[in-house]
């Protein structure tokens, strides 16, 4: 039992530390939102990639950065309704 508890605690520690670490109850929405947020953060973080996207969008880099960060707030629409 202690082992199970420890595993549980370790998992929780991981989840707290590394955003997006999944668990048994991860929903499809959580997962997708997490992937999209990771992607956007990566686009913003890699300067050549941001420049590439900005060029394609016809915007300046700072605007592209703002748009991508804004997309991280709600990347895949509203969450599904929770059915009790």
């Amino acid at each position: 039992m202690a082992d199970k508890l420890r595993t549980q605690q370790q998992l929780e520690a991981l989840q707290a530390r590394y955003v997006g670490t999944g668990h048994a109850d991860t929903t499809k929405y959580d997962w997708a939102a997490n992937v999209h947020r990771d992607s956007c953060a990566s686009y913003v973080g890699h300067p050549p990639l941001l420049a590439y996207l900005a060029l394609g969008m016809g915007e300046c880099r700072e605007r592209a950065r703002g748009l991508l960060l804004e997309r991280m707030v709600r990347p895949v629409g509203n969450p599904p309704e929770v059915v009790e």
């Binding site: 990566s42 913003v44 300067p47 050549p48 703002g66 969450p79």
Partner: protein, 1209 residues
């Protein structure tokens, strides 16, 4: 082992990226002078702005082998030196300093805080420092923030604390800045959004109600912890923060910038808001709101102001007005915020205002600009708007404000620094029929885009070009006395005489110099204190200061064939093969050495070195004979004219030069023997100063003519000018001190000499045909010359005319009004005064409109006219997406220009209403285009290619073959070969390589009999292909948009099977493998290049060089991959690389191997840029590595430099 491969390539950068990610300003050298530090790609560069000349020079540029994301400068209280903090992808915070005495960066601290790589929750995206240099905050996009306390210890060394956490889960950071609070506890301000609610609420209400907060984080220095001190909702659209001076200088706080909104915020002040003025004009949408995208705050003498730039490039001056007390003195309370139009400059990533009154604009695209301030917009006629006009809440109604953009009044452009960013396509071709090909590239965006021609060479400043009566054979310059600063005479030798010109205000002939004018000259020299020497075929004329002439006649029936001199020695070679040696004695007369030395063959050239400082003679005489040898003779009094060493050559030497030059191996100066051969080959060998032995020979082919060598001085260093079919300069690189040999961008000279006069202290004089030319070389740092032709819109792709030296570009700008719409607006509107004036788009950009495209086709002549020959604008909101020159066998192999377009294209998510393929006929050798017809298709064709006399088009995920009909293109064959979208096509024979936007490349074979396209090999890994090229029939090299470059090869068996004669039945019926093609590609090489590759091709770069892969990157990078021939070399470089990884670990703390294997492990590649850092190591480390490798330092350096010079620059 996964990392080994049967194929190995050596990666080298020819031109580092020129895009600037971030710029910081500071006194990094610890002097009063400010320097600019820029991050471009993985390179950190420190520049010195020169206020006197209005120029920026690069002092040091270093590759950090890591992605630089943020930079910050800080200074500890009481110090006068700024340190640099780097936020990179290493998961570590790095603090470095610039050491001016050694011209290098020195790492002071490296603290690990997280995983490496660019991740959502690993800090490194944002970096802010306290203005007093007491702390810094490094944050990630989401959640994590770490505060480091910076201090100094008893030895006055910088210390860094362990990190203090200020994390907040599910919180996105949009901007971060250090607040100016004087000497109170450091405070950092962040723009944050907490998305917790919005992730739970399925109605979307929480998202609509979501607020953005301005949050203050205070570092309590006493308690050593961080608290969220204050938080307040701000405008939802805000994305930028600017620090407002505090303490004694101002009210403290921040400017929060969002859509049409600049708000002053602080915890103890009322908010004040101004809108962003909009452009007025017939083509401007009056409803369009702008964002602020860059800005800078500048403090001076108690006052301060902001320059904020909108997304159009307009800069606004923003100031704060304070409430005044009874005495009329400003208090700490803000009264209003004021804004007015300042000037328009290119859209910037960063603006820097220098104390010396300059503005550095690190442009987002195109050249970086360096401006000088003329005034600060204090008393002009621009309307000033203040915050009294606007409600604080941006959702409330307010009157929009407008201004008329105008030419720059406050700043004056003093230098434009070449930048090829973004570089969208590139082709290497030899259009000018020179020895080496040129690089043609399209770069820039919008109206600031350009077509650039790059040529390997040094820029030459032509000073004088004057005609002579006859064709001279040689030229010299000389001083009259040793103490002279400048040359006094130019001596020209003709077939039958000698002409002496004096250098002064004007250059004119003089006759009373004592020079023999009736014979040609072989050498001229200023000897001793005040004498002159003229060597002519019949003797040596020694002209004393009092015009007394001593003549030494050549022995009877013999003449002098070669001569060499320095200020104390003279050596001449007679036609009989004898060498006569003279030395100046105490009383200034020339004394002949008794014995003559007889050489085995006819002497072709001689060289004496300069007399070393503090010595009486040069130790060695180099003698070149027509039996293809060079001998070194001793000039020591004990062993005069004795043989010291011999070197055999491949051809007879035509010129020799013994000279000391700076050397990276020894760190000081080394004596070299430069040899030019009749075959046009140039050799450089090290001449041992004691033993006279020759070692470490390096060879370069200069051109088909015999090489001549001349000692010249460029930028204060001894250099060698080598003349063959074109002139070359051998010098040591100002930064690495490595030896460089670069052609001059100049006419082919026949003879040259150093030249120094009052007007031109460091020049050269040369002769070419009948003309006498004086020129100088002002820049040694840049050996790629650029010429640029301005283009209209962002260039996307280009093709070359199959025979003529012409290029065709397609250009397109998104969200931009097309010329016809613009014209209609200009004609329609009831114009008020001044609105009709159209602004030059290269300074002000084009009028923007959502969903509009402006697109055109250009014909460019980069060789003769150096201009755009014709422009064809596309109408109806169409955008050109692909271009190809295709010859149709149905039209007697006539070549047509094919352009693919899309209508109403939206980039992401991809949508359009139709696609078209335009066909143009070439007229007048391609100088004009005639429209034939256009064919409507379902999707914009992203790739076009000529294929077996027909057109191959990638339409969506289909591959199609079209033939040319009378009214339109006729579809002949089609197949779906890739899963998503065809973006590139390559072909050889009947094999087609199709690149998919997302799923790497697919090999397709076309079966003519059955008229079928059959995919037979595909890849296992998703590669977001941007460019590809066929290296050979089986191998493809390509790049993806994450910055990887790879070489893929199709299995031999599959390749053979695909080409079996007959029908493709066996291919069609072959079983699919895991829902893909029957076979899989194998990976040969993989490398992370950091920059997004935009083109790759297999070509030669230098005359006589091997084929290399040349790739270009979006940020302006030019790189090559050189294939290794021998396994031995691979082993050598692999070991060297390994040693360098540990001995010269990357500055920002990124592991080199992991960096180059960012997305997939590096395979089959050696990083040449790392290997070249060997030359910059301290000599003990060099020795150590050389010992490990069992070779000498020189040998290693030669191997490294050979890898580059054999194939590239």
């Amino acid at each position: 082992m996964a990392a080994t491969s049967s194929m190995f390539m050596y990666s080298l950068t020819i031109q580092p990226p020129s895009s600037i990610t971030q710029t910081i300003l500071g006194q990094f050298a610890g002097t009063k002078e400010q320097q600019i530090v820029t991050a471009s790609g993985s390179r950190l560069t420190i520049h010195r702005p020169d206020p006197a000349q209005g120029k920026i020079t690069t002092i040091l540029s270093q590759d950090l082998f890591g992605i630089i994301r943020t930079l910050a400068a800080f200074r500890l209280a009481g110090s006068n030196k700024d340190y640099i903090i780097i936020g990179s992808d290493s998961g570590r915070i790095t603090i470095i300093e610039y050491v001016p005495s050694q011209n290098r960066f020195n790492r002071l601290h490296l603290e690990t805080f997280g995983k490496s790589g660019i991740r959502r929750v690993i800090p490194g995206q944002y970096l802010a420092v306290d203005p007093k240099g007491r702390a810094c905050l490094i944050a990630s996009v989401e959640k994590n923030k770490l505060v480091y306390v910076l201090n100094r210890d008893a030895q006055a060394e910088l210390t860094i604390s362990s990190p203090l956490e200020a994390h907040k889960a599910q919180t996105l950071v949009f901007a971060l800045v250090g607040l100016d609070v004087g000497y109170e506890n450091p405070v950092f301000a962040a723009l944050e959004v907490d998305y917790t609610e919005c992730d739970q609420d399925s109605t979307g209400q929480a998202f609509d109600d979501l607020e953005k907060h301005l949050v203050y984080y205070e570092l309590d220095l006493g308690l050593n912890h961080v608290v969220r001190k204050w938080t307040d909702p701000v405008d939802r659209t805000a994305t930028m923060l600017f620090q407002v001076p505090g303490g004694a200088d101002g009210p403290s706080g921040v400017l929060v910038c969002g859509l049409d909104n600049i708000t002053y915020r602080h915890s103890n002040q009322d908010p004040f808001r101004v809108a962003i003025p909009r452009r007025r004009g017939a083509t401007e949408n009056p409803e369009r709101k702008r964002y602020i995208i860059a800005g800078v705050m500048h403090k001076m003498r108690g006052a301060f102001f902001f320059l904020l730039q909108s997304e159009d490039g307009d800069m606004f001056k923003v100031t704060l007005e304070m409430v005044e007390d009874e005495a009329g003195q400003p208090t700490g309370e803000v009264k209003k915020l004021k804004i007015k139009y300042f000037d328009t400059v290119p859209i910037a990533t960063n603006l820097c205002i220098l104390k010396s009154g300059f503005l550095f604009v690190a442009s987002e695209t195109g050249n970086h600009h360096f401006y000088q301030f003329e005034k600060l917009g204090d008393d002009d006629e621009e309307t000033e708007f203040d915050s009294d006009l606007f409600p604080v809440d941006p959702t409330e109604k307010y009157e929009a404000i407008y201004f008329h953009p105008r030419g720059a009044e406050n700043v004056n452009l003093v230098e434009s620094i070449d930048s090829m960013n973004p570089q969208l396509d590139c082709k290497v071709a030899n259009l000018t029929e020179e020895d080496a090909p040129q690089i043609y590239s399209i770069c820039g965006s919008g109206a600031r885009s350009s077509f650039r021609t790059l040529k390997h060479g040094l820029e030459v400043n032509d000073i004088v070009d004057s005609e002579l009566p006859y064709v001279p054979s040689a030229v010299w310059t000389t001083k009259i006395t040793r103490g002279d600063e400048y040359d006094a005479y130019i001596v020209l030798s003709f077939n039958n005489g000698t002409l002496v010109l004096s250098i002064g205000e004007t250059v004119e002939e003089v006759t009373d110099t004592g020079f023999l004018s009736s014979a040609p000259t072989l050498a001229v020299q200023q000897l001793g204190e005040d004498a002159l020497i003229q060597v002519h075929p019949k003797g040596i004329r020694h002209i004393r200061a009092d015009r007394r002439v001593n003549e030494w006649p050549a022995p009877q029936h013999r003449s002098i064939v070669a001569a060499t001199t320095n200020e104390r020695q003279v050596a001449v070679a007679l036609s009989s093969g004898e060498i006569v040696y003279f030395e100046m004695d105490q009383d200034g007369s020339l004394a002949e050495y008794d014995e003559k030395r007889e050489m085995s063959g006819t002497v072709t050239c001689l060289s004496l070195g300069e007399v070393p400082e503090g010595r009486v003679r040069s130790q060695f005489l180099a003698v070149g004979c027509d039996d293809s040898t060079v001998r070194i003779l001793s000039l020591d009094p004990d062993s005069t004219l004795e043989n010291k060493s011999v070197q055999a050559l491949t051809s007879a030497p035509s010129a020799l030069a013994v000279m000391a030059m700076a050397d990276s191996t020894s760190g000081g100066s080394t004596l070299y023997l430069h040899i030019g051969l009749y075959s046009g080959v140039y050799l450089r060998t090290v001449l041992d100063e004691v033993t006279g032995e020759l070692s470490d020979t390096r060879t370069r082919f200069l051109g088909p003519k015999p090489a001549k060598l001349f000692r010249v001085s460029v930028k204060g260093q001894a250099s060698v000018l080598a003349l063959s079919s074109r002139p070359w300069l051998g010098y040591s690189d100002p930064q690495t001190k490595g030896f460089m040999l670069t052609p001059l961008d100049y006419v082919g000279l026949e003879y040259a000499s150093n030249f120094s006069s009052e007007q031109c202290p460091e020049g050269m004089v040369g002769i070419e045909g009948k003309s006498l030319r004086i020129f100088s070389i002002d820049k040694l740092g840049n050996n790629l010359l650029q010429q640029s032709i301005p283009l209209t819109y962002t260039p996307r792709k280009f093709v070359r005319h199959p025979d003529q030296p012409l290029f065709y570009t397609i250009e397109a700008d998104n969200n931009t009004l097309s010329p016809s719409t613009k014209q209609r607006l200009l004609n329609d509107s009831n114009l008020t005064n001044g609105d009709a004036a159209e602004l030059p788009p290269d300074e002000f950009g084009y009028p923007r409109a959502q969903g509009h495209w402006a697109s055109c086709i250009h014909i460019i002549d980069p060789v003769i006219a150096k201009a755009v020959l014709q422009q064809i604008d596309l109408e109806d909101n169409e955008v050109a997406v692909s271009i190809a020159a295709v010859s149709f066998s149905s039209q007697d192999d006539e070549t047509f220009l094919i352009v693919g377009t899309g209508k109403d294209v939206v980039v992401a998510p991809r949508s359009f209403t139709a696609g078209f393929i335009y066909v143009y006929r070439f007229l007048e050798d391609g100088k004009e285009l005639e429209f034939i017809h256009k064919t409507k298709i379902e999707e914009p064709p992203q790739a076009l290619l000529g294929f077996q006399g027909r057109l191959l088009a990638g339409v969506g995920n289909e591959l199609r073959i079209y033939d040319l009909g009378l009214k339109q293109l006729l579809r002949k064959c089609q197949a779906q070969v890739v899963p998503n979208l065809v973006v590139g096509l390559q072909t050889q024979g009947s094999r087609i390589i199709v690149s998919d936007v997302q799923e790497s490349v697919v090999y397709v074979v076309y079966k003519f009999q059955e008229n079928r396209l059959i995919a037979f090999v595909d890849d296992v890994i998703a590669r977001w292909t941007t460019c590809s090229t066929m290296v050979d029939y089986e191998t493809v090299a390509g790049g993806d948009k994450f910055g990887n470059i790879w070489l893929l090869r199709c299995p031999q068996k599959a390749s053979e099977e695909a080409d079996e004669d007959g029908s493709g039945a066996h291919l069609i019926h072959e079983r699919q493998y895991l829902q893909g093609a029957p076979n899989r590609i194998s990976l040969m090489c993989h490398f992370f290049a950091q920059d997004v590759p935009t083109s790759i091709q297999k070509t030669q770069l230098v005359a006589g060089g091997r084929d290399v892969l040349v790739w270009t990157g979006l940020q302006g990078t030019l790189g090559i991959f050189v294939p290794f021939v021998s396994r031995e070399d691979v082993d050598f470089f692999q070991t060297l690389e390994q040693h360098l990884r540990s001995e010269d670990a990357p500055l920002a703390g990124r592991d080199h191997l992991i960096y180059r294997g960012y997305y997939a492990p590096v395979k089959g590649m050696i990083d040449g840029d790392l290997c070249e850092r060997y030359a910059l190591l301290p000599s003990d480390k060099k020795q150590m590595i050389a010992g490990e490798l069992d070779r000498s330092v020189r040998e290693i350096e030669r191997k490294i430099s050979d890898m580059r010079t054999r194939v590239a620059y």
